[in-house]
């Protein structure tokens, strides 16, 4: 079911969105580590729809039951807008699931790769990890 649905959805998006790739204003590996994938679910506490990266903050319950406020970096607003995002795509209070990569030395900072929004849509978050070649 999911396998059949996604291509149809992707095709629909292909009609209206630019093919433009997403890049960070900095090298992905300057801040993040591909070997530290993360997946968290929590409640959005703040959204910064600003350059050079949109950011959003998510309260996530850790294994001890304590809330940790994650800071997730997205692509720039212009890049996200060309992919169908708006400044209202994420709202404070939304429950979201984020996959991405953790910062090298900052345990609650991440680069978002995909976000499952409050209504269930999974959207590409403009991670620079997908575009940066290995060196």
């Amino acid at each position: 079911m999911k396998g059949r649905l996604l291509p149809a959805v992707a095709a629909g998006f292909g009609l209206v969105l630019s093919q433009g790739a997403a890049l960070a204003h900095h090298s992905f590996s300057a801040e993040f580590d591909r070997d530290l994938p993360v997946e968290v679910t929590g409640t959005v506490t703040k959204v910064e729809w600003l350059n050079p990266h949109a950011r959003f903050y998510v309260n996530v319950e850790d294994e001890k039951g304590e809330l940790v406020n994650w800071d997730f970096e997205l692509a720039s607003p212009n890049s996200l807008m060309r992919r169908g995002w708006t400044r209202n795509s994420l709202k404070v209070g939304d429950t979201v699931t984020v996959t991405g990569y953790r910062a090298r030395n900052h345990p609650a900072v991440g680069n978002a790769s995909t976000v499952v929004l409050a209504d269930g849509r999974k959207v590409f978050a403009g991670s620079s990890a997908e575009n940066e070649p290995s060196q």
Binding site: A10, L23, A30, E48, N51, V109, R121, V123
Partner: protein, 294 residues
């Protein structure tokens, strides 16, 4: 199957709703005078537009379209994260031209040069150090201007405004801005103050715009990986609009301080219609640089 189709249709509606407001952020305005095919679609292989003085008109909004930025997930990238609902599959790359200069990539302008760039030893050592540091000192990573080749290869568009005596290129990426004088003035020879973007003069060689630039800062980064550009550098760009929808730019870097010989690479752009640049003010909310770790 029926359920699947209905669900897909519902999802498509949801996604259309998701995307529609983005198109209405600022009203789209149609590009005038676009050549059309018989069925009314833009004829991107149509004739090159010309200015009143007969030269090709390079004006318009352009985006890269060669394979200079890989869209394939890098090695080790989890396959289940490589595709999301709003990420269409990449278009096929254009056919390779065996006689064309090697294609520059946004990350590494020498990526397709056999044997790599002809670095002098100090320059090679510097690039290796910049790689080891994960390019944390790239000026763009600190909201300072991008290098020439980063501007040429950036996936965000650029707008060319052409007048008989001056061409202005506005780059959406980090709000880059270049001015190219076509009024016949020579390049300055009075040891001018170095600039991030140097000083550019242009002339027409047939239907190709030739732009020569000097006067760069001594600490330039040509690409993301940090190939250097020094104050001895001269850059020559040959802009050719090959048809309505496509432009190629052959860029020759002649910087004897950093490289043992000049080299030439190609960048390909295609026109973007019915759109405009989006504001990008890098220092609006820069919160990444304090997290950089080599």
């Amino acid at each position: 199957m029926k359920t699947c189709l209905i669900t897909a249709a519902a999802a498509a509606v949801l996604l259309a709703t998701f995307s529609a407001p983005s198109l209405a952020q600022w009203p789209p305005y149609p590009t005038p005078n676009v050549p059309r095919t018989a069925d009314g679609k833009p004829d991107l292989e149509g004739p090159v537009p010309r200015t009143a003085d007969g030269h090709p008109d390079l004006s318009g909004i352009w985006e890269i379209y060669n394979d200079s930025i890989s869209r394939s997930p890098p090695p080790g990238f989890p396959a289940d994260r490589g595709q999301a609902d709003n990420l269409p599959p990449p278009p096929p790359p254009p056919p390779a031209d065996p006689n064309a200069p090697p294609a520059a990539t946004f990350f590494d302008i020498g990526a397709n040069i056999e044997g790599g760039l002809p670095f002098r030893p100090w320059a090679k050592e510097l690039v290796e150090q910049r790689k080891a540091d994960n390019q944390k000192d790239n000026p763009d990573a600190h909201c300072l201007p991008m290098g020439y080749m980063q501007l040429h290869g950036h996936p965000q568009p650029r707008k060319i405004v052409q007048t008989p005596d001056l061409i202005v290129i506005m780059y959406e990426g980090n709000s880059g801005l270049r001015q190219i004088f076509l009024d016949g003035r020579p390049l300055p020879d009075n040891d001018p103050q170095p600039w991030w973007y140097g000083y550019s003069v242009g002339h027409w060689d047939g239907d190709t715009l030739v732009v020569e630039s000097i006067g760069f800062r001594d600490d330039g980064w040509l690409d993301v990986f940090g190939s250097p550009l020094t104050d001895q550098g001269k850059i020559t760009e040959r802009f050719t609009r090959v048809d309505y929808g496509h432009m190629q730019i052959d860029v020759t870097i002649d910087d004897p301080k950093a490289y043992t010989k000049p080299f030439t690479v190609r960048v390909k752009h295609r026109v973007m219609l019915d759109t405009n640049l989006i504001e990008f003010i890098c220092n609006e909310n820069e919160k990444s640089s304090h997290l950089y770790d080599p």
